[in-house]
């Protein structure tokens, strides 16, 4: 089982140190032929975090590969702890416990989501009554 997991990550070739950022070149940089998933959102994010209004495409590509690698690592780790083979919120919170920023962010997001669900439910019930 663990070998299959390793195979997947090698197949995607996440070692960005080997990546050549050729503009329009046919070289297999990072993701190979995978389509860019987060180009637009990442540009807005980089601007929000302090970069230029129009960040370089190569930097955006590097960031996208980093994010996908990060998500993949977290997912694999979450699958190996708690309930095996499944990814649950508790596992993610456990993995993140040492990083104060991420931990606080996850707690906030989940609390806000609960509050929103409660508010929506109360709103729907109020409407249903009238």
């Amino acid at each position: 089982m663990s070998e299959a997991v390793f195979d997947i990550s090698i197949h995607f070739n996440f070692q960005f140190e080997e990546e050549n950022e050729e503009i329009g070149g046919g070289a297999e940089g990072g993701q190979g032929k995978r389509k860019r998933l987060f180009s637009k959102e990442l540009r807005c994010m980089m601007y929000g975090f302090g970069d230029d209004q129009n960040p370089y495409t190569e930097s955006v590509d590097i960031l996208e590969d980093l994010v996908i690698e990060f998500i993949t690592e977290m997912t694999h780790k979450a699958m190996s702890i708690g309930r095996q083979g499944r990814v649950q919120v508790e596992d993610i919170v456990f993995l993140i416990r040492k990083d104060p920023r991420k931990f606080a962010r996850v707690k906030d997001l989940l609390t806000m989501n609960e509050e929103l669900k409660r508010a929506r439910k109360a709103f729907d019930e109020a409407n249903y009554g009238s």
Binding site: F6, I8, S9, F16, E17, E21, L37, F38, E41, L42, R43, C44, M45, M46, Y47, G48, F49, G50, D51, D52, Q53, N54, P55, Y56, E58, S59, I62, L63, L66, V67, I68, F70, I71, T72, E73, M74, T75, H76, K77, M79, G85, R86, V87, Q88, V89, I92, V93, I96, P100, R101, K102, F103, A104, R105, V106, K107, D108, L109, L110, N113
Partner: protein, 210 residues
């Protein structure tokens, strides 16, 4: 994508400003999450000592006067009451701190220039698309994942992007260059974060004893 670009001089000061903005949400919360457990631990120790002292006193009384439940109640109530009041006070203090923070944020945001407002809006609004994240996670696990997992993962990824970009901007400034960020800044930033342990890497098998 956005409005016309501003003068370069603004950008220089901008970097520091937006870094403060991103640091602010993280900062107070760090102290909150770290401070509160320490306080409860200190109080908890005091509670245990009090409860033990009271238990010693009561045992000297006639045992037949009190039933087991009453004894437990009279043991627990003072300690439990104190704990309840303490947690309530702490919650009130935390709410007050939140209100102060909200007020300060409002004052700060009201004094932003237009460029700063744009950047702040992008900072707040940008997010990863939930569908793509869900598809990515499901392609790795092979099973379906709940919505909360997708929410948590998107949130953590955004914080991760923020950490990398901030470190890269530090590197860029240290090398005496200007944004936009170049791949060499990003790579140096990742190298630094890796040595701090912020970048997870489970490909390298750790040999502990040899």
């Amino acid at each position: 994508m956005d409005n016309a670009c501003e003068s370069p001089t603004e950008k220089g000061g901008e970097t520091g400003e937006s870094e403060e903005t991103t640091a602010a949400p993280g900062g107070p919360r760090v102290t909150d999450t770290d401070g509160i457990p320490e306080e409860t631990d200190g109080d908890g120790d005091g509670e245990l000592k009090e409860a033990a002292a009271e238990e010693g006193e009561l045992k000297s009384q006639d045992i037949t006067d009190l039933t087991a439940v009453e004894r437990e109640d009279s043991l627990l109530t003072p300690a439990a009451k104190k704990l309840k009041i303490d947690t309530k006070e702490k919650k009130e203090k935390k709410q007050k701190v939140d209100e102060d923070e909200i007020q300060k944020m409002q004052i700060l945001v009201s004094s932003f220039s237009e460029e700063q407002l744009n950047r702040y809006e992008m900072y707040r609004r940008s997010a990863f698309p939930k569908a793509a994240i869900k598809r990515l996670i499901q392609s790795i696990t092979g099973t379906s994942v709940s919505q909360n997992v997708v929410i948590a993962m998107s949130g953590i990824s955004k914080v991760f992007v923020g950490e990398v970009v901030e470190e890269a901007l530090d590197v860029c400034e240290k090398w005496g260059e200007m944004p936009p960020l170049q791949p060499k800044h990003m790579r140096e930033a990742v190298r630094r974060l890796k040595s701090k342990g912020q970048i997870p890497n489970s490909k390298h098998k750790k040999i502990i004893f040899f």
